[in-house]
C-alpha cells in the first residue's frame, strides 16, 4: 500500500489534544507520524491547504438493508455512500430480513463487509427475530463480532426483557441501543402530534411516546448499572431527562441525527413523504434543545439513522409511506452548519462524529494516535454543492435535503491507509 502524506491540512484530533496545521504521514495502514522529517519511498503527497484532517468519521446508526431488501441498499452500496459522506466506519442495525439474531447472520455481514468501502460493525438483535419476546443469542453474536444489541426499528416494549437484555449484555461489556418509543402512544401516527398534524388530518406521534421510553431506559440503566445508548433523540424533554441522568452518573450515551437539528415538522409541508420518519420531525423548541444538548455534551453522538427506502415505499399516501431517510452523504454537511453558526466548534464536531461514536460502541478508531489504524477523513469546510438526486451514491434517494445548497463536505476518505473516496 502506497504511503500517503497529507500535507498542510489543519489536523484536528481531540483525543490527543491536537489542532494544528501540519503534515500527517500514513504508512503501512497506520497513522505513522506527524510532521515527518523524511518520507518512505513512493509516498503520495497531497496538499490539503485550507482543509481539515480529522480521524475517520464513524456513523453508529445505519440501516444497510442486506440481507433481504437489497433493492434499497446493500452492504456494498451503503459502504460506498458512507465513504462518500466521509465515514470510515459504520454500525449497521439488525432489522434486516431476516433479522441479525444469530452468529451466522453476524458472520455473513462481516464477510460481505470485507470488500466494502468502509468498516462495517454489525449490531445484533436483542430478541429472537426482533419480535420482542425472548432474548436472542447475544453471547454467540458477540463472539462472532456484534458490537452492540438493539431491536431498532421497534422498541423493546417488555420492560423486563429490556432489563434482562441490559444485564446479559453486561457480561460482554457491550451496550444496548434503545429505540425509545412507547408504541401504544405512537401507533398509527405518521408525524409529530400538534396543531400541524391536526390541520393536515394526520395522526400524530406525541413527544411523550419517546420521552416515556427514554425515561424507562434511563431508569433501567440506573437499575442494572449497564451502559445503554439512546438512539435518535428528537425531543426537548428527552434531552433534559438525559442531562439529569448523566448528572446523576447514569451509564448512558445518546445520539441525535442531523435532521433533528436541521428540520422541523414544517418540512412535511404538503404531505412530503421524504420528510416522514420515526421519531418524527419535531418543533422549533425541540431543534433548539437538540442543539443545546450537542453543545453541552448531553448528546454524545451525531448518527445519520441512514434508512434507505425505494420509491416503491415512498411514493405512497403519506400515512402508508415508509419511515426514514438516507443520511450518510449529508450528515457531515449538515453538522458543519452547526460549526458555521457557532453552535459547536471544530473540535466538538470531531468528537460528535468520530471519537464519541467510537467510545459509545467501544469501536477502534476515533483518533489519529500514532500507531493507530490509518482511518482519516479530510473535510473541505468551504466546498459548496447542491445535493442532487442523480449524484446520490446510496441505492435509495429518499432524502428531504435533495436540492439543498450545502456547504462543506468530505473530499478524501481513507480507511486503513487506503483511499475509499476522493473528490479533491
Amino acid at each position: 500500500m502506497q504511503p500517503i502524506l497529507l500535507k498542510n491540512g489543519r489536523i484536528i484530533d481531540p483525543v490527543n489534544g491536537i489542532d494544528m496545521v501540519g503534515n500527517l504521514l500514513l504508512h503501512l495502514a497506520k497513522c505513522a507520524q506527524i510532521n515527518p522529517s523524511s518520507l518512505p519511498e513512493g509516498t503520495r503527497e497531497i496538499d490539503l491547504t485550507g482543509k481539515w484532517v480529522v480521524p475517520g468519521l464513524i456513523d453508529i446508526h445505519v440501516h444497510l438493508r442486506e440481507p433481504g431488501e437489497e433493492y434499497k441498499e446493500t452492504i456494498e452500496s451503503g459502504a460506498q455512500a458512507a465513504a462518500a459522506g466521509g465515514f470510515t466506519a459504520v454500525a449497521c442495525m439488525p432489522n434486516t430480513k431476516p433479522v441479525l439474531d444469530s452468529a451466522q447472520m453476524i458472520e455473513a455481514v462481516l464477510s460481505k463487509a470485507q470488500k466494502a468501502a468502509c468498516r462495517v460493525y454489525p449490531v445484533g438483535a436483542i430478541s429472537s427475530h426482533g419480535q420482542g419476546s425472548t432474548l436472542a443469542n447475544m453471547g454467540e453474536m458477540f463472539a462472532a463480532g456484534a458490537v452492540a444489541f438493539t431491536d431498532d426499528g421497534l422498541p423493546v416494549s417488555d420492560s423486563q426483557l429490556m432489563r434482562r437484555a441490559m444485564e446479559y449484555a453486561g457480561n460482554y461489556g457491550v451496550p444496548i441501543i434503545s429505540h425509545s418509543e412507547e408504541i401504544g402512544l405512537s401507533r398509527h401516527g405518521s408525524m409529530n402530534e400538534g396543531p400541524m398534524s391536526t390541520r393536515m388530518g394526520i395522526i400524530g406521534i406525541p413527544h411523550a411516546a419517546e420521552e416515556i421510553m427514554v425515561y424507562r431506559d434511563l431508569a433501567l440503566a440506573e437499575l442494572t448499572g449497564q451502559h445503554v445508548h439512546l438512539a435518535h433523540i428528537s425531543t426537548k424533554e428527552s434531552v433534559s431527562l438525559i442531562r439529569r441522568a448523566k448528572a446523576n452518573g447514569c451509564p448512558v450515551s445518546a445520539e441525535t441525527a442531523p435532521h433533528y437539528f436541521s428540520l422541523t415538522e414544517k418540512a412535511v409541508g404538503k404531505y412530503d413523504t421524504y420528510a416522514k420518519m420515526n421519531p418524527p420531525l419535531r418543533m422549533d423548541y425541540d431543534v433548539e434543545a437538540i442543539k443545546e444538548g450537542l453543545q453541552d455534551g448531553t448528546l454524545d453522538v451525531i448518527a445519520s439513522d441512514h434508512a434507505p427506502h425505494s420509491d416503491l415505499e415512498k411514493e405512497l399516501e403519506f400515512d402508508r409511506a415508509a419511515n426514514g431517510i438516507i443520511g450518510l452523504e449529508t450528515s457531515l454537511s449538515l453538522a458543519l452548519q452547526l460549526v458555521r453558526s457557532n453552535c459547536i466548534d471544530e473540535k466538538k464536531l470531531v468528537e460528535l462524529m468520530s471519537s464519541n461514536p467510537a467510545k459509545a460502541l467501544g469501536l477502534p478508531g476515533g483518533s489519529l494516535t500514532v500507531g493507530n489504524m490509518a482511518d482519516v477523513t479530510v473535510i473541505d469546510p468551504l466546498r459548496q454543492y447542491t445535493y442532487q438526486r442523480d449524484e446520490v451514491v446510496s441505492r435509495s434517494k429518499n432524502s428531504p435535503f435533495l436540492g439543498w445548497n450545502l456547504t462543506g463536505k468530505a473530499v478524501l476518505t481513507i480507511v486503513g491507509g487506503k483511499v475509499t473516496y476522493e473528490d479533491l
Binding site: E193, R199, M200, G201, G204, Y271, L316, E317
Partner: protein, 310 residues
Amino acid sequence: MDAEYRFNHKHILSIDDFSTDDLSFIIQTAESFKEISTRSIKKVPTLRGKTIINLFFEPSTRTRLSFEIAAKRMSADTFNISASTSSATKGETLIDTVRNLEAMRPDAIIIRHSSSGSPHMLTRYISSSVINAGDGTHQHPSQAILDMMTVKEKKGHLKGLKVAIIGDITHSRVAHSNIVGFTKMGADVHVSGPRTMVPIGIEDMGATLHRSVADAVSGADVVMGLRIQKERQQDSLIPSLREYAQVFGINSTLMRLAKPDALIMHPGPINRGVEMTAEVADSAQSVILEQVTNGVAVRMALLYLVLGGE
C-alpha cells in the same frame, strides 16, 4: 369582491387554499346553478365533451352520487370507479391507478380516499384537475362550501354568526374544513365533544373549544352534529354510544339554549338517537335535506370553475 376577481384554481384540495373572495364566488356560482335542478329538463351543455372520473376508495353513495348528478347536469361524461383500498395489496399503488386513468385523458378526477393528503399527492403525478371528495381526516371542501351556502341562504350572511359543531372533531374532515371555511368568512366557530375526540391545536385552526356542549350551543345560530363512527367505542374514545347520546347528543332540551331560529345541520348519514334525536333532525329548523340539495349546486359550480366551461 373587486372587479378584477378571477377564480384561479386548477384543483379543489383544501379550504385553506381559498380566499374569502374565492369562497364567495363559488357560493355565488352555485346559487346561479341551483335553478337548473328545478327545471323539468335538468341539463345544460356547459361541460359537454368533458370527462370526469369519480374515483372512490371509500364507500360513499351520497357524495359520489351528488358529484355524479352535478357532472351529468352539466353534460359531462362521468365514470365511476369504486376501487377498494386493498388494490394496494394487489401491488397496484394509488399512483399506478391514477396514472392509468390519466392515460385515458380525463379532465378531472374526483377522489375520495382514506389517507389524508392523497389528493395533494396526486397533483404531483397527473395533469388533470383533482377534486377532493374527502381525504382521511383532513378535509371535505365541497361539503364545507355547501354548508356555508346553506347557512348563507337561510341567514343572508355568515359574518358574526355563532356556529356550534358538536361531536367527533378529531376524525371529522367535515369539521376541519368547516372550521377553516366558516372562520374565514367571519363566523365564530365553537366546538365541543368528548375530549378524546378533540385534537390538539383545534383552537389554532380558529375554533373556540368548550368543555360543555351547552356552552358551545348557547346562543348559537347554527348547530351542527357530526357522525359518530360506531367503532370509536372499541378505540376507547367513548365508553358507550348510550353515554355519548346522553352527554353529547343534540336534543330539544339542548336546542333551547341556541337562538330560537338556529339552524340544525348534519353532514349525514345520521345515527338517529346518537348524535341527534329524531325530533331535532326532523324539526322545522333542520336544513339537513337542503344541505343535500345545495351539494349538487356546489359541485356543479366547482366542476364548472376548475374545468373552465364556457
